[in-house]
Subunit: 363 residues, 2 copies
């Protein structure tokens, strides 16, 4: 994996990540393909709108269908019919947010599946083994994700564990697979600094900031975003995990982050909340009943090229599968296009104007 910064605008960076399976333009948005599919979408549709990398969840795929099954079916790329780059998370976040009855020791976490209650164990060695079998281009270290609020003491002990696990992950790094380290530390700046230093000392191909957007006030999250970014090496990709609100993303890009993943565009789509160049709209509203205009006249997606707001409202109210399809296509296209324009603004040195304009619209 190779990362190049092509241009900068103050702290925001416009770069490329090169992998054997393709190039990723940064700042990059990675749609989430939780259990082997980006919900409601085909991989052809994702390619066509310019998606360059997808995220797969090791925890979900480990439980269902099982990484052994995916191995037999030729690895995650073949399994889900996606031949461009994949990033897999380590399962850390899901073990701590979805699984029940966790018991943590220095080797990893015992937990019960959120699907059937069965007992499992994942630690750094297991997380690396699973991700090796999934055969993603970028793997993530296994970390402890603590809730908000957590005490200083607990957070302090937790980042020690995360550092210990990161070292183990590095030891078990798979051939031909980039590995990103994850910085934790909650909302405590000195612990964020300590965690950053420890993770950087181990040495990874890229660095991620985890443990945000877990319930803390937005202002605190923004503070940590701006605080943590400059603590990470300039020459490596910086990934802000799980943050997908466009306002938050612009702040993070301003701080110097390069990579993002989030279910917001697809989840909102399924709930009928659609992004447009004049703000978010709820497609179910009565005013759209006989509206023969397209969702967003400035949008060139498949949905906006072919369907009226009236039709989209009808599909949504009728709970048709096509509603989730057309809405997901539109929202993802909107995100991809937003990132493309954001990258161009960095190239032109107009990122600040870009950010001001969109902050106004999404306020």
């Amino acid at each position: 994996m190779n990362f190049k910064i092509l241009s900068t605008d103050i702290n925001s960076r416009r770069g490329i990540i090169e992998t054997k399976r393709g190039t990723i333009n940064t700042p990059a948005f990675m749609p989430v393909g939780t259990i082997g599919t980006v919900k409601a979408m085909s991989t052809d549709e994702l390619k066509e709108m310019g998606v360059e990398i997808l995220l797969g969840n090791a925890y979900h795929l480990y439980l269902r269908p099982g990484h052994d099954v995916i191995a037999k079916l030729g690895g995650l790329h073949r399994f889900m019919n996606w031949d461009l780059p994949l990033l897999t998370d380590s399962g850390g976040f899901q073990v701590f947010s979805l699984a029940a009855l966790r018991k943590i020791d220095k080797n990893g976490v015992h937990f019960r599946s959120h699907i059937d209650g069965s007992l499992h164990f994942i630690g750094p060695a297991e997380a690396m083994k699973i991700q090796g079998i999934l055969n993603s281009e970028i793997a993530m270290t296994f970390d402890e994700c603590i809730p908000y609020p957590s005490s200083y003491e607990y957070t302090s002990r937790s980042i020690e564990l995360t550092t210990l696990w990161a070292k183990k992950c590095k030891e078990f790094q798979n051939n031909d697979q980039a590995l990103f380290g994850i910085v934790q530390g909650g909302i405590l700046k000195d612990l964020r600094k300590k965690s950053s230093e420890e993770i950087i000392n181990i040495g990874f191909d890229g660095y991620a900031v985890g443990g945000l957007s877990v319930g803390e006030p937005k202002e605190l999250m923004h503070e940590i975003i701006y605080f943590n970014a400059p603590l990470l090496p300039l020459e490596k990709p910086r990934y802000l995990m799980g943050i997908g609100d466009l306002g938050d993303i612009m702040k993070a890009v301003e701080a110097g982050f390069d990579m993002f993943d989030c279910v917001i565009p697809t989840r909102n789509a399924r709930n009928g909340t659609l992004f447009t160049s004049s703000g978010k709209i709820s497609i179910k509203r009565e005013e759209f009943r006989s509206d023969s205009t397209v969702l967003d006249p400035d949008c060139n997606c498949y949905t906006c090229r072919n369907y009226t707001r009236g039709y989209l409202r009808h599909l949504f109210l009728s709970k048709e599968i096509l509603s989730m399809r057309l809405n997901s296509i539109h929202n993802l296209f909107f995100y991809l296009n937003f990132f493309k324009n954001m990258r161009e603004s960095i190239e032109k040195g107009t990122f600040r104007e870009f950010k001001d304009r969109w902050d106004n619209i999404f306020q």
Copy 2:
């Protein structure tokens, strides 16, 4: 509308229906686009697999979003982004199978919506008006669909009403819209004969047989299929309504029917029952867990070109939307291909062999 028979094989017919919006090869399968979408499918996908005509349901579209809304949105073709031919049913079948609290008089039916209980009235005049606004290429007369079993007396009075309504529909026939008459009469041969004669006397662009597959034993249904077909004019298209089991379809084609519609391929797809060249399979079965082969090696559909049985099983068990998409694509493609091969067998004079082969597979 123009109908030509290109070749016959005993009583089976291979023909074309020409409309302003395109040609339909017969025997034709019409996927059902109940409320403005074939469930889980895009119209591009339907076109790509060779669908030449879709069915829309007047009853459903009248209730939701309302034909007034569809009028404002440019008619049903524009509404659902389908520029090839459409056939609309009249609403008769749904009024009698879905709606509550029906009160029938000679002008039509008072009923309550199955969605919100609101009161409505549809008769022949209303059915023609709705279908005119939907602007389909082929409209259907408004008929009474009686349940099985029904007494001789009730059936006899019912076909009188259906004849009366058919006359009214003919009076109100829309410009530039073909109109098909519907024959009723339950499983009573003399009443089927009487209804056929009366409907033919009025004179329509095509003739449909309705009121079958409403609970009667299969043997009785087959008897009526073989009995009713030759009572209809040779030179007009013959449409067997709502019958979609492939075994039944082959019998009906053998009897001389030309057009079919059914939700079987899409509904089965959503339930995980998939058609293959060696029979039906349930994709959820344990044996497919790590199966790296494609669904049907003889199939060239998008699903079979790109995905393994193991992946399809995983998507189905995970209740992913993509499961319904890929399964619907496959089953519809299978049906379209089945009809294509059936048409070729009629051209070659080998329909009997075609039928024997498939009867064996689907037994």
